[in-house]
């Protein structure tokens, strides 16, 4: 590509159409823009949901996007690009949580799940408890879930993905996803139940 002097003529040579060593060729870039770019909002919500902190989520979203750009050449045409992207986001989030764990902070893995599950309810559900919960109570309950459960809840319950697609995106079997989601919902319900109990006890149910 070159700009040839004051006449304002443009030239484009064959060599310009085939970059020397970019991560994406021009046709791959077009495919990336068609298949991946429309899912940037999902990518962002996944990162926000799992990382909670906005600045960290921005960094994770950016890292995941760059990994997607650099790895896109290996994605076969016709593959489910949305679940492929979800896998990248999940792996990036997991790396983030594992680096936190190395610093002695809360981590990604099972010890947290066990802890969270002890808070889970073993009672019949009362839908009114969920209906009457405040948004901030639901947000708090969600934040207290282990991060990898939040990812499942985000994809299935929030984004509305099928179990199969979400499982593919998270790199686990549908059965594992189903079981994890069941436990996550149970823990969420248990937390909302406990919060409702505290609210009623404090007589603050009528707060505006």
């Amino acid at each position: 590509m070159g700009y040839n002097g004051p006449e304002g003529e443009w030239t484009r040579q064959t060599k310009d159409l085939h970059p020397v060593s970019p991560h994406l060729s021009a046709p791959e870039k077009l495919r990336f823009e068609a298949e991946i770019v429309p899912h940037l909002d999902v990518l962002y919500r996944m990162a926000r949901s799992v990382c909670c902190d906005a600045d960290v989520a921005d960094d994770v979203a950016q890292d995941a996007f760059l990994k997607a750009v650099r790895g896109f050449g290996g994605l076969a045409p016709g593959s489910n690009s949305r679940s492929w992207l979800a896998r990248i986001v999940q792996n990036t989030c997991r790396d983030h949580w594992r680096s936190r764990a190395r610093k002695g902070e809360a981590g990604w893995d099972d010890d947290l799940i066990e802890e969270a599950e002890t808070a889970g309810a073993q009672v019949d559900w009362q839908p009114a408890i969920i209906r009457e919960a405040f948004d901030d109570e639901i947000e708090q309950a969600l934040k207290e879930l282990p991060p990898r459960w939040r990812m499942s809840v985000q994809l299935v319950d929030v984004e509305g993905w099928s179990y199969d697609e979400a499982a593919e995106g998270l790199g686990i079997g549908p059965g594992t996803l189903r079981s994890g989601l069941h436990r996550a919902r149970k823990v969420l319900y248990g937390k909302l139940l406990a919060t409702a109990g505290r609210r009623i006890a404090q007589g603050t149910e009528s707060r505006e």
Binding site: M1, Y3, G8, E9, W10, T11, R12, Q13, K15, D16, P19, V20, S21, P22, H23, L24, S25, A26, P27, K29, L30, F32, E33, A34, V37, P38, L40, D41, L43, Y44, R45, R48, S49, D58, A61, Q62, F65, L66, V69, D124, W125, Q126, P127, I129, I130, R131, A133, D135, I138, L142, D157, V158, G160, S162, Y163, R178, S179, H182, R185, Y189
Partner: protein
């Protein structure tokens, strides 16, 4: 109560596994009914949270799209001066000579020229305004491939004007429109080393017309047909059967492009009479 069926239903995929025995069981089992209803309500509440409706902030989105440009550019640096055209898809390579010949015959020629090394050797090829607009707007994927041209849905001209102006760092004042061309929304993206934007309008007859703001660098309009509308010189051109009107404001070429062939009669005059008066 069948405990194993209860467990299967409560642990199962409630949306996808509603076979006959399970449905019959749920009708009779208050525990399962309450659980399924609770799961549905929980889903509704989760989807209703503000965070569940969040969209990636424009600055971050633009940063990512700029990094995509850099990753796809030789050397990974900033885009070179001039127009960086996307690699044309195969179908466009096939129709290119035909459409080019047609445009030459029809005489929609502007002063801008490219030398295309990959089509018919080193033949120097005249380019039309419409081709320029089509190349820099990438509308074949923004609109035809993605099938979802809008990044934001906004029907209020002032809101969209503010969003576009802030994104572009360039003042754009979209005109107030009526039913004859209703504003749908807009999109911002990175191209040719600068941010570009579009606003989409839907005509009464279902036709769609897009207002693009794309880099004007090196766009040579000498020799193109033009007329004066609303006090400004407006050039006209066409590519792939799409009619375009182009005018220059600052470092942007603003272009009104009809996606459905001919622009409705009087549309551009009406629109241009109102835009940025």
């Amino acid at each position: 109560m069948d405990g194993s069926l209860c467990r299967m239903i409560q642990e199962g995929d409630h949306r996808e596994r509603r076979d006959e025995p399970a449905s019959a069981h749920v009708a009779d089992c208050p525990h399962c009914r309450a659980h399924l209803e609770g799961v549905a309500v929980l889903g509704d509440r989760l989807r209703g949270l503000p965070a569940s409706r969040a969209v990636m902030p424009s600055p971050l989105k633009l940063k990512l799209l700029a990094s995509l440009e850099a990753e796809a550019t030789p050397g990974g640096g900033a885009a070179p001066r001039g127009v960086v055209l996307p690699m044309l898809p195969r179908w466009r390579k096939l129709i290119y000579p035909t459409a080019l010949a047609a445009s030459l015959v029809l005489g929609f020629i502007s002063g801008g020229r490219y030398v295309l090394g990959d089509f018919g050797g080193n033949t120097q090829v005249e380019r039309t305004i419409g081709m320029y607009i089509e190349d820099v707007t990438h509308d074949h994927y923004l609109i035809e491939r993605i099938g979802r041209p809008l990044e934001v849905a906004m029907s209020d001209e002032a809101d969209l004007s503010a969003w576009l102006s802030e994104s572009l760092s360039f003042p754009i004042e979209l005109p107030q429109t009526g039913n004859e061309f209703a504003l749908e929304g807009g999109r911002v993206w990175h191209t040719v080393g600068r941010l570009s934007a579009m606003a989409s309008y839907l005509g009464e007859d279902g036709s769609r017309t897009i207002l693009f703001g794309v880099p004007a660098a090196n766009l040579e309009l000498k020799g193109a047909d033009s007329s004066v509308i609303g006090g400004r010189t407006v050039f006209q051109g066409e590519a792939w059967g799409r009619e375009a009107r182009v005018w220059i404001e600052g470092d942007l070429a603003l272009a009104l492009v009809s996606l459905d062939g001919r622009m409705p009669a009087g549309w551009s005059t009406e629109f241009l009479g109102r835009v940025n008066p």
